[in-house]
Subunit: 154 residues, 2 copies
């Protein structure tokens, strides 16, 4: 299990998303985001040159490898939110995205000695190297148990 | 179809989410966000007093009625992103959320006369009236066709 102290500013973790097929884009859209942009290829082509994925699906696909490969081994108390969350370019079918998670800061809590905040930036690029999605995020994590207990001299 | 000019600052639109069952929370988590907080009731109870939904699922459930009931009738070019996106409190099983979408501003584009930006705030409250999720968001929308075409005197 990884704790807050196991991370440091400047670390970069790399992931790759599973590309979304047309069927997957339309299926997701029917359930969560039934806009024509994600369901009607002719309409979407006029505006964006082709069918585009729901931004919600792009978000989930970007985070899926992060959650599955990384967060499940972290002492995570909970995600806190996002800042400067931007869908910069449409994501089309069959485009895998290269994702970087860059650690910006780890900040122990002042009021609760058992926890602290991990701040990080996400950048997702399409096969042409274009940045299609970026955000900053924060997760509340546990500190190493030994460090949050009173030491022998305290 | 609603265009940018059909909205004005101060408008409030209200929605209600479908409550998430334990099964739905675990099913979503297995696909997208397999953290113990969303899959292991005993573990989650120690930290949060019970199983909690993935924040990604809360986001999707909050936006589902907005996308389905509102955005599908809007001339939406695409969502742009979020600012100050915060999961403020955990969401537990079987809690429907009351959602308000508050229009903050509509801003016609200076460079592209056929479009503009709709800015809005989302607030989602649990059955106890506690704010559990909030964000600001922006969508790029089309302007009314008549207003973006040259007039007879131009």
């Amino acid at each position: 299990m990884k704790y807050l102290e196991d991370f440091q500013a400047g670390q970069v973790f790399r992931f790759r998303t599973a590309p979304m097929s047309k069927e997957s884009i339309m299926g997701f859209a029917r359930e969560w985001d039934p806009q024509q942009l994600h369901l009607d290829e002719e309409y979407a082509t006029k505006i964006h040159g082709g069918l585009i994925a729901s931004g919600f699906q792009t978000l989930l696909e970007v985070f899926k490898p992060i959650m599955t490969e990384m967060m499940t081994t972290m002492a995570n108390i909970g995600g806190m939110g996002f800042d400067n969350f931007r869908w910069l370019k449409p994501v089309h079918p069959d485009e895998p995205l290269d994702v970087e998670l860059i650690v910006n800061a780890i900040t122990p809590s002042r009021s609760k000695p058992d926890r602290g905040i991990l701040q990080y930036t996400i950048e997702a690029r399409n096969p042409d190297g274009e940045l299609v999605f970026t955000t900053q995020s924060m997760a509340m994590m546990k500190r190493k148990p030994a460090l949050s207990e009173p030491g022998p001299t305290s």
